[in-house]
Amino acid sequence: MIAYRAIRIVQLGIKSLLLHKMRSALTMLGIIFGVCSVIAMLAIGEGASYEAQETIKKLGSNNIIIRSIKPPEDTSSGSSGGRRSYVSEHGITYKDAGRIQGTIPGVGSVLPMRIIRENVIFDQNNIPVQVIGTHPNYPEMTGAAIMRGRFLSSTDEGRQANVCVITVSLAERLFPYQDPIEEEVRLGADYYQVVGLLQEQGTEKQRAQSGNMEGQPLDSNIYIPLSTARSRFGEVVINRSAGSFNAEKVELHQLTVQFHNPESVEAAVPQIESLFQRFHKRKDYEFIVPLQLLRQAEQTKRIFNIVLGSIAAISLIVGGIGIMNIMLATVTERTREIGVRRALGAKKKDIITQFLVETVVLSFGGGLIGVMAGVIIPLLVSHFTDMKAIITWWSVILAFSISGLIGVVFGIYPASSAANLDPIDALRHE
C-alpha cells in the first residue's frame, strides 16, 4: 500500500518533469556536473597521491637516508676565479657510519655509498656512469635484484678487489654483442672484472618518464667494493664541467640506515640529528626519512582532497540552487494545479511530498548520470595519459548521497511555498 503510493508519487513526479523535458534536463545538468566533478577530482587526486606514496615506499619505511650535501656557504666557491686550489671538504664521514652503527639503538644495518662520476670503457664503447662504491648488503637494503652472476662479496671488500657489478641497462649498451660476465671494463686508470648484473628496483618506469637530458638512463650504474673505491679513486672528487673545475672531498655520499621496525625510526631521527650536529660544524648533510615523507604525503593528500572536494561541493551547491530556482518557477507556473489538488482533497503534506519528490527525482537522476560520467572520466584519463586515477567507493557514495540531500534541502523551500498557498487564491490564479 505504502510502496504502491510511493511508486505512484514518483511516477507522477516523473510525468510532471517530462512535461518540460528541456527544462528538466538543463536543471539536472548542474547536478550531473557537480557529482561528476566530485568523483573525477577525488579519483585523480587519489591516483596522484598513490603514485607519490609508492615512490616513497620504495625508499623503505624502515630506513633513514642521510645524504652529503654541499654546505650553503660553499656553493659559490667553485666558480669564483681567484681560488684555484680550493677543495670543498664536506659530507658524511666513515666515522659517522661507525658512530651510527655503534650508538643508535634499533639499527639493523648501515649501507654506505660513495658515488663517483666516471666514464666506463669497454672496447669502443665509452659511457658516462655513476660508480657506486658500496657494501655487499646493497641488494637486500635497496630491493635491487641480481639478474645474473653475483653481487660484491665481503671477500671483495676485504681484498679491495677490482670487481664490479653493472646494471642490466648498462650491460645492454656496453656489451651489445658479448656476454658481460667475466669481461674486464676500464674505469679511470684500472680494469674491473664484471661479476654480476643487477636490476634496480622500479627504475624501468622512472626511466620511461624522466630519461635525463644527456640521454643517460638513471640506472647506468657500476657497483664496486667501497674499499676499492677508496683506494682507487681517493677521497677527492674532481668535477670538470663546461670548462670550469671544482673539487670536493667527500668520504661518503649516502648512508642508508636500516632499522628493525618503523617505531625505532621515529625514535632515532632526533638522536641521529644531534649526533650529526655534534660532529659537523656546518650543515653538510640532509636526512630523508621515508616514513615522515609518507606521513607528509598523506597529510598533503588529505588537504588536496579537502580542497578538491570543496570545489566540487560548491558546484554541487550551485546545481542545487539551479534546481531550487526552477522549482520555484514551477510552483508559480503550477499554482492552479496546486489549487485544484487542494480542492480535491490534497493536504498540505501531500503537496509538499509531490514537489519534494520532483526535486529529489531531478537531483537523484542527475546524481545517477553524474556517477556514471564521474566513473568513466577517470578511467579515460588514466587510459589516455600517464596520470593514474583511482575511483574510491566512498567518493561515489558521498557524491551520490550529497546529490540526494541537495534535492531535499533545495526542494523544501519551493515545496513548502507551494503547500502554503491558499487553495482559494491558487484556484483563481491565472
Partner: protein, 255 residues
Amino acid sequence: MTGKPIISIKGLEKLYILGEVEVRALRGVSVDIEEGSYVAIMGPSGSGKSTMLNVLGCLDRPTAGQYFLGDENVATMGDDELSDIRGRRLGFIFQSYNLIHQLTVVENIYVPLFYQGKDLKDYERHCERLANLVGLGERLDHRPKQLSGGQQQRVAIARSLVNDPLMILADEPTGNLDSKTGTEVLNLMDKLNEAGKTIVLVTHGPEVAERAHRVLHMKDGVIDREVINRKFEPRKQANSDWLSAIEESLGLKTP
C-alpha cells in the same frame, strides 16, 4: 435518509480584513439544503456569492455560525480535516475545468481517490465507468490538451462523482462553453440530479438557474430572496446504485 437536510447552515458570517478595511462578505446566512435537491445560487458580484461557494466547498472557514455537512461540523475544522472532507464528501466542477495536464482522462478522474489513499488499480474500473458515463469511454488515455472544452468539462464531472460525494458544487460550469455544449453539460447534470445527486450550482445565467429546484438570490452578504422553480420531491429511499441508474437512463451498457 429521505429529504433530510444534508447541509445545514445557521447564522453564517465571514469577515475579511483587507488592509485597514473590514469586509463583511457574509452577514448571517441561514439555509438548509435537502439531500437529492438541486439548488442554484445567483447574485451580482460582491453579493457574497463567491464567499458562500468557498465556505460551502470547505475551502474557507466561516468567521461565525454553523455549517453542518452531513453530520460533520465544518465550521470548527482545521486545515487537514477540511482537505479530508473535501476529498470524501464533495465534488467540484469549475468554470475552467481545472484538469491536470500531465494526467490522462482516467488518472484525472482518479485524483480525489488518490488523496484518500486508494489504489488506482482497485478503482480503475470505476473510473472507466464514469468516463463512459460522461461519453468519454473511447478516450481513457487522452490528455486534457487533446480534448475539447466540453469534453474536458465532462471529465471534470466524472471526477466530481468519483468519490460518491454528498454534494456536487458547480461554479459556472457552462461559463467557458458555447450554448450547445453548455446545454449538453447541463443535461448531464440534470441526469445526475435525477439519479439522486445533490447539486449546488453558482451561476449568473437565469436560464441555467431555471433547471434547479430552488434559486437562492444573494445580495449584500445575505440570501435576499428564494425562488422555487419546481417542487422538490424527496425520494422514498436513498438510491444506493445511482451509477447504474444513470447508465440505464442514458441507455448505456455497463462496459
